[in-house]
């Protein structure tokens, strides 16, 4: 297992380097002088010169890259052109909001997706299956930004059950322990704050969970169908095992394996989808920070946020692979 872990980590190094090259090239593929493009038409000569210096654009390409990577190793993601604050700090400050949203959405997605996938496979081609498949196809087809708006219209504006946007009522101020507001509220005994945070998170989490839960249901259905047609299931049934036991113990365990991969990878993609969702719900996370940077073409911030999203994505696929190795010796032992 140790060897497998080491090998897998070594393998991700070249990928990480290439990711850095891609992100590094982003500013440099801008047509024309990137400094001019970044500052806009009305920039003065001095401004352009200052920016070129700040971004090291006058140095040869390989030296620019070396500096960029050295900076990263020192935890320097650059400074925002708009606020002049260090980007890493700004991102770390917003990370808990995004993570809380993503984790809560994952929970919702699994609670809905797993039963849906199982039932759909068991009652294959029944009306329930057709309805569930249609439902999960709608889930992966719906534009997140539009679904967010529709939920706002229905649950916040028409029914008035939930707040339109934000993460917390401005009057509520729970003490910070973990940065996850619901958890903080519960930990400090401030149940009103926890309830308020919960009311705020429901709609954005539902938007993210729609895509996520639908994906889980689709994969689980497909895997369950494969597993259910295999011989050992027939054996289990043949020896008179209760159907519930066959399904939940024998079939689900094997069918869930590939789904674990999907859960891991989609979790990271969820963070990407957060850009749209956080924007619509004014959720103070990394996604909204990136959106604000896009609006004013704050390049270093876009680069920094992209890097953080890619890193989370790579980390979660690494974790999924390792976890998979623990579960399945065939993968661990294969060259």
């Amino acid at each position: 297992m140790l060897e497998f872990t080491a090998r897998r980590i070594l393998y991700s190094i070249p990928a990480l380097l290439l990711v850095l090259v891609i992100i590094f090239s982003l500013v440099r593929i801008t047509p024309g002088d990137p400094a001019v493009a970044l500052l806009g038409e009305g920039a003065t000569e001095a401004q352009v010169k200052a920016l070129r210096e700040q971004l090291n654009l006058d140095l040869p390409m390989h030296e620019q890259f070396t500096r960029y990577v050295t900076g990263l190793l020192h935890g320097d993601l650059g400074t925002s052109m708009r606020t002049n604050r260090p980007i890493l700090q700004e991102l770390i400050q917003r990370l808990p909001a995004t993570l809380e949203l993503a984790l809560f959405a994952t929970l919702l997605a699994l609670v809905v997706g797993i039963p849906l996938g199982i039932l759909s496979a068991v009652y294959r081609n029944s009306w329930f299956d057709q309805a569930a498949r249609l439902f999960s196809l709608v889930g992966v087809s719906v534009p997140a930004f539009w679904f967010a708006i529709i939920l706002q219209i229905i649950f916040a504006l028409l029914l008035g059950w939930l707040p339109v946007s934000g993460r917390l009522d401005p009057l509520v101020r729970p003490e910070t322990v973990t940065g996850f507001l619901i958890l903080d509220g519960l930990l400090t005994g401030d149940y009103d704050a926890a309830k308020d945070a919960l009311r705020h998170i429901l709609l954005p989490a539902a938007v993210l969970a729609a895509f996520y839960g639908a994906t889980v249901a689709r994969y689980l259905r497909a895997n369950m169908l494969e597993v259910l047609s295999s011989d050992y299931i027939r054996t289990a049934r043949g020896k008179g095992l209760a159907e519930v036991k066959v399904l939940l113990k024998h079939a689900l365990q094997n069918a869930m394996l590939p789904v674990v991969t999907i859960i891991g990878l989609k979790f990271a993609e969820l963070l990407g989808g957060a850009i749209l969702t956080e924007t619509v719900f004014s959720w103070p996370g990394m996604g909204r920070y990136m959106f604000e940077a896009i609006k004013v073409r704050d390049y270093p911030v876009i680069q920094g946020a992209t890097l953080v999203f890619a890193t989370i994505y790579m980390l979660s696929s690494l974790l999924v692979d390792l976890f998979y190795g623990v579960l399945d010796p065939r993968i661990r032992l294969k060259g």
Binding site: P14, A15, L16, L18, V19, V21, I22, I23, L26, V27, I29, T30, P31, A37, R124, N125, Q130, R133, L134, L137, V138, S141, V142, P143, A144, F145, W146, F147, I149, I150, Q152, I153, L157, A222, L225, E226, S229, E269, L271, G272, G273, I275, L276, T279, V280, M290, F291, I294, K295, R297, Y299, I302, Q303, A305, T306, F309, A310, Y313, M314, S317
Partner: protein, 304 residues
């Protein structure tokens, strides 16, 4: 296979030419496929309707999609404006019909570009093997290390906001997916006997790839393409929503939702209809693609 068909047609009431026989067979198979996949039929109907609306937009659109009319700002749906009007008094129904032309063209162009580039790279990589393959696949892996939407946003922001750039950005995120799949297919096919035979007859690399390898890889790639159409439309619309895609006054569904978003309190229809059409068209492609995936997989097909 050919012989079989011929004998069958000879035993039939009247001997039909072989191509008619083949055509009939194909029709029967299509019909069988559609009968077993009611959801695919739903997809085809939705797609057909949207396609028709988009193609006939100049004829059936009741108004000019970019004509501003201050007097009719944010009018609710009525006989004159079936979907209402937007914040500039433009007829939403006409904008959606015309926007559909853009959206479908976007999806098709993006997927075609990604398909051609991705499949060429992937098949070449898989066929050549060795260090070329390793290098290409490492780059592909690196590109797949980004959440697709994040990469598309980063590219689109770097290239500058415009419809063409947002399409390029989305195509760039799809290319590695096609390359990956095509490489896997090529790896499986390259050592087949007929390829060996063609090679020993002196066929060059280009001819081998084009005539002997590509045709065998096409099936799964085309299914992937039909699924990608949906995500291409979704992603481009998302970029449009973020202001990185089509610029005003071009009618585009994603950008139209974005423009309507701030008026939902009083006039929910401005965001409702353009988004609904995005949902329906992506859904249509996914319904069709999904049924095709099921159909291509012998294991899931067994139940039919």
């Amino acid at each position: 296979m050919t012989n079989l068909t011929r004998t069958q047609s000879q035993t039939g009431a009247a001997a039909r030419p072989i191509w008619v026989e083949r055509w009939l067979q194909r029709q029967a198979m299509t019909l069988h496929f559609l009968k077993r996949n009611p959801l695919a039929v739903v997809g085809l109907v939705i797609l057909g309707t949207i396609l028709l609306g988009a193609l006939l937009a100049p004829v059936i659109a009741p108004h000019d999609p970019t004509k501003v009319s201050v007097k009719e700002m944010l009018d609710p749906p009525s006989a004159a404006h079936p979907f209402g009007t937007d914040f500039l008094g433009r007829d939403l129904f006409s904008r959606i019909l015309h926007g559909g032309r853009n959206t479908l063209a976007i999806g098709l162009a993006v997927v075609t570009l990604a398909f051609v580039v991705g499949v060429s790279v992937g098949i070449f990589s898989g066929f050549t093997g060795g260090w070329v393959d390793v290098v290409i696949m490492r780059i592909v892996d690196a590109m797949l290390s980004f959440p697709a939407l994040v990469l598309a946003i980063a590219f689109a922001a770097a290239l500058g906001p415009s419809l063409t750039n947002s399409m390029l950005a989305v195509a760039l995120t799809l290319i590695p997916q096609f390359a990956r799949l095509a490489r896997g297919q090529a790896l499986g096919v390259r050592s087949l006997l007929h390829v060996e035979a063609a090679r020993s007859l002196g066929a060059g690399t280009g001819r081998l790839l084009w005539k002997h390898i590509l045709p065998l890889c096409l099936g799964p790639l085309l299914v992937q393409a039909s699924l990608s159409l949906g995500s291409a439309i979704l992603q481009t619309a998302s970029l449009g929503f973020l202001g990185l895609g089509a610029q005003p006054p071009t009618p585009e569904w994603g950008a139209d939702v974005s423009a309507g978003a701030q008026f939902i309190r009083e006039s929910p229809w401005v965001a409702l209809f353009p988004g609904l059409t995005i949902l329906l068209s992506v859904l249509a492609f996914n319904l069709i693609g999904d049924a095709l995936v099921d159909w291509m997989n012998p294991r899931t097909r067994k139940g039919y």
